[in-house]
């Protein structure tokens, strides 16, 4: 009914869950904060499209995932337009975030490398990978959430895994790490 104060209750109820979902997808707090706000604003403006015979959270989750993806794609496009650093290096591929934002609980170097590698995977592949591996969504659920075909889900997942292995293989060989 257009009561933004009543919507505040919804924000408070779901903000943490949605935030951490987004954070896994965008990998840093500043982007997660932007996307979180955009997600709820979009949800508010689209409330008239929400069918309340279905649970609310999956609907909101879907908005969050798509907003995250759009945000990352936009960021990648902007980055592609950025000039090189003064040292002549193009840091477009270097997406490492501040160490204070990300840490792994076991001090595991491999986890750090995994984080770096994830950020080098294209956003749409990373999204599918995280939704599948981290959130445990089925291909069908990912397909519905991201509004892509199951075939596209499988293909992006396969490419994400290949890329991840390629990025991490070099590290594993230098460290002679047995898995």
């Amino acid at each position: 009914k257009g009561d933004s104060r009543a919507f505040e209750w919804i924000i408070r109820k779901y903000q943490k869950r949605i935030y951490f979902t987004i954070l896994q997808l965008v990998m840093n707090h500043d982007d997660a904060d932007d996307v979180l706000q955009e997600t709820f604003i979009k949800a508010y403006t689209k409330l008239d499209t929400y069918n309340n015979i279905y649970p609310f959270y999956p609907w909101l989750y879907r908005i969050a995932v798509n907003t995250s993806l759009n945000h990352q794609k936009k960021k990648a496009r902007l980055r592609a337009l950025s000039i090189d650093d003064l040292d002549g290096n193009n840091h477009n591929g270097d997406l490492a975030e501040s160490p204070s934002q990300l840490f792994d609980t076991e001090g595991n170097e491999l986890v750090e490398k995994l984080k770096d590698a994830l950020q080098q995977i294209p956003p749409e592949q990373r999204m599918v990978f995280i939704l599948r591996v981290n959130d445990g969504l089925s291909y069908q659920e990912i397909s519905q959430t991201m509004e892509i075909s199951i075939g596209t889900v499988m293909s992006r997942l396969s490419r994400a895994r290949d890329k991840l292995r390629t990025l991490l293989n070099g590290y594993l060989e230098t460290k002679d790490i047995k898995v």
Partner: protein
């Protein structure tokens, strides 16, 4: 099967999304191919490590700010949505009349927009609602008049909460119960319309600390078995309107203890008769929800210092008188614990000042003896140093 055929399907094999005959083929291959087996093991390892990636949790204040920022943006968009329509209409009109919507037109439109639009984004709007009050025969429906929120002083972390005299004068001295059945004391079984906040028969000293569970016994007659229901009660925000059925205990007697307004939450009652307590207005439930959320976060925190800051932050933004009292009581409890644990001069001083600043509110909730004992305790620490 060749490795080239197998490799693209290993991910789906891990996802268990392949038909059983393919799974068997892949398994057979993995039994004889160390390279492909290594690939599978690597994938499993990487994917299991995904759960080890942890992120620093944003601060408590962040979670308070997010809803405000979002609501402010939503309100701003709504207030200015007509401006977009206006500028759109101007463009349309200009194009219909064959006029070029050139630079001058754009400037003129911008001037109109700036003149008419005064975006007002306030982060802490007070809410005043006015609704009518009604009373029904079987169930008492309470709808509330919430007064304008009193001004809340800005707080810095670590400073005691000042309480101004105006606020003190608004502390409720009467109690009204919005229920569909009388609340009974579990011991005496006598119906209670009014009860004291520190009455151990129903609420106890920790009642204002948390949700209260009250045993409500509905007596029909001596021959009938009474049905016991466990219900939760919670304070509802300050109201000047007391339903006519419930007369105030006293309005002018300063010696009487300060009582509280409560409502029964009948949502979880197993069996109930009658229409129950109607839902309270959203603003009321929001105030209550904010308090309960704060309580939940405090309970999850293991650090007394953090609990203190959480309550300070809550008092900094909550203007409802009833819930401020709860916040003050809870903060007093934490400051007391800090002083007890540390026996430090600064901690004792801080607690002592806080107690004195909120003497009336705390005396009403702890009782005079409880309050004086605590004060004496802090004094003893201060004198020892």
């Amino acid at each position: 099967m060749e490795c080239l055929e197998i490799r693209p399907r290993l991910g789906f094999y891990l996802d268990q999304s392949l038909p059983s005959d393919e799974v068997n083929e892949i398994r057979e291959h993995l039994n004889t191919c160390p390279a492909c087996l290594t690939v599978v093991e690597q994938m499993e390892r990487f994917e299991s490590l995904l759960g080890s990636i942890a992120f620093a949790e944003p601060s408590y204040d962040y979670w308070l700010e997010v809803p405000r920022k979002i609501i402010a943006r939503i309100d701003f968009k709504r207030r200015n949505s007509w401006v977009s329509s206006l500028t759109g209409s101007i463009r349309e009109l200009a194009s219909l009349k064959g006029v070029q919507f050139g630079f001058i037109g754009a400037v003129a439109t911008a001037a109109i927009v700036l003149f008419l639009v005064k975006p007002k984004i306030s982060g802490n709007d007070s809410v005043s609602i006015q609704v009518s009050s009604t009373t029904r025969t079987e169930s008492t429906q309470v709808t509330l008049m919430t007064p304008e929120a009193p001004p809340v002083p800005a707080l810095e972390s670590g400073t005691p909460t000042p309480i101004n005299k105006e606020l003190e004068g608004q502390l409720p001295k009467t109690v009204a119960i919005a229920v569909d059945r009388p609340i009974l004391k579990s011991k005496s079984m006598a119906p209670v319309d009014n009860y004291e906040a520190d009455d151990p028969g129903i609420l106890g000293n920790t009642s204002l600390f948390s949700l209260n569970t009250v045993q409500v016994k509905h007596l029909r007659s001596q021959d009938e078995k009474s049905r016991v229901q466990t219900q939760q009660i919670y304070p509802i925000p300050f109201t000047e309107n007391v339903p006519p059925k419930y007369k105030p205990v006293s309005t002018n007697d300063d010696d009487k203890p300060i009582l509280r307004t409560f409502a029964l939450d009948t949502r979880n009652v197993r069996s109930t008769k009658g229409s129950g307590v109607p839902e309270l207005p959203n603003t009321v439930t929001n105030i209550r929800s904010n308090f309960l959320e704060t309580l939940r976060i405090v309970r999850e925190s293991s650090s007394l210092g953090e609990k203190k800051n959480i309550w300070l932050s809550y008092l900094g933004r909550e203007s409802d008188v009833t819930y401020r009292m709860l916040g003050i009581y809870n903060l007093a409890f934490v400051l007391t614990k800090i002083a007890e644990d540390s026996k430090g001069l600064d901690e004792a001083n801080e607690a002592h000042k806080f107690y004195l600043a909120h003497e009336k509110a705390l005396r009403s909730q702890m009782g005079d003896k409880g309050f004086d004992d605590k004060l004496a305790f802090f004094q003893s620490i201060i004198e020892m140093q």
